[in-house]
Symmetry: C2
Subunit: 250 residues, 2 copies
């Protein structure tokens, strides 16, 4: 059960260097790589982790049309993925919190189909995909884990699809907040207090709404006593109200 991680930090010169960290020490291991593999297998897995580095707000993990080489595990901070349309307008396609894996699009084309940039100072673990595939062939549970991860990604997209095509603006906001709360809870954090790493613009963009609408709904939710809002600090006061508002589950 000894899981290990290659976590990468930069020295004072800005160059990156590797620092090994045991997955046991990483609070994210149950979310990120909940594997039951032997020690020697873990060493193999650990060996393929590569040149991570702490990224400042707004730095890119990769850009659309970059050759696809790796997927990334968010270790701290937060990352958004997005695509640019021909006219250059941005579409946010996802938010990634610690313990989550980003970059699994692009496998089919050998190029990333979206870009990923940090929303705040973040650190990530890079996992070269080719070597991950090799290793997956040898470790069935690892193969299954990644099939499973991608499957979950598809599921999440389906949920979002439903949200966007059927639900009101209120429901979309409520749903996003509940999703973030749930993901925080998985990592052992509060399910009621949260700090949104993304701007209102990103929220609006992601949910297909206007910024003004997002802002108005936050204020109204506060008036209705569902939330306490202070900028990006949110407290969920009335989970029922938030859900019942528009027939959301949980």
């Amino acid at each position: 059960m000894s899981r290990k991680y290659l976590h990468l930090v930069s020295d004072s010169t800005g160059h990156t260097m590797a620092s090994r960290t045991s997955c046991n020490d990483c609070s994210l291991s149950p979310i990120c790589l909940p594997l039951a593999v032997s020690l020697s297998e873990l060493d193999q897995l650990e060996d393929i982790m590569r040149r991570g580095r702490p990224l400042k707000r707004g730095e890119h993990l990769y850009r659309a049309s970059d050759p696809f080489e790796s997927v990334y595990a968010v270790r701290s901070g937060a990352v958004k993925s997005y695509v640019l349309s021909e006219e250059g307008e941005e579409q946010v396609t996802g938010f990634y919190l610690p313990g989550e894996i980003i970059g699994m699009d692009g496998i089919s084309t050998a190029h990333h189909m979206s870009s990923a940039k940090t929303l705040e100072t973040s650190s990530v673990c890079e996992i070269p995909f080719g070597r991950l595939e090799e290793l997956s062939s040898k470790i069935p549970t690892l193969q299954h884990h990644f099939f499973s991860l991608m499957s979950r990604e598809i599921q999440a997209d389906r949920e979002l699809h439903m949200l966007l095509s059927k639900k009101s603006a209120d429901d979309r906001i409520a749903s996003l907040l509940l999703s973030i709360a749930a993901r925080q809870q998985r990592r052992g954090l509060s399910a009621v207090r949260l700090r949104l790493p993304m701007s209102r613009y990103d929220i609006a963009n992601y949910l297909g709404l206007a910024v003004e609408t997002v802002s108005r709904i936050f204020t109204r939710f506060q008036q209705q006593g569902f939330l306490a809002v202070e900028g990006r600090e949110i407290e969920i006061l009335d989970r029922e109200g938030l859900c019942g508002n528009g027939r959301l589950r949980a």
Copy 2:
């Protein structure tokens, strides 16, 4: 390069029985399983294909919460996937045409998270997923192919996300038609004439529109000379017009 398929048909009594068909004979092989594997490997792959059967319109491949055992390749006809919300309302999550693989959600939960039913008489090839995983460990190109398929699925969902959150009703309809045309073309069929396998209700549901809106847009596209519409028979007369309408690509 000899690819084989297990295609299943029913006899006159309605019982199913297996009939082997070479993948070489299957016009879908370049889309469905474009693999370069050895003959012995192909035999292994072929051996895991199972109890397919021709399904009549409205029959289910699987239902939400069924144990997840297999994925399915559509051989002929058309299939839609959907989920039901708590209140029992349907959300169509995808349409699957010949050569496409359905059922890859549910890997992570061991249960299907959506249902899949045929839109017309269809035949499918069932591929037990557990055995597919085993085989994937032995055949790296097969493993990569399935990672790739799932990656493509994620990409498609992202496209849809953009469509639903940013684009007008006109653009959504145009985009769906162009997508179906493109997928037909991949199988060597016409890129301008198509027969929609799904109802206006399914289209509306999938795109997050009201049926009336879909109907009105079809009529208007016809008036504008973009389309010739006759029920579910569609001819694309002015591709540019259809795209230029709302800044869609190709």
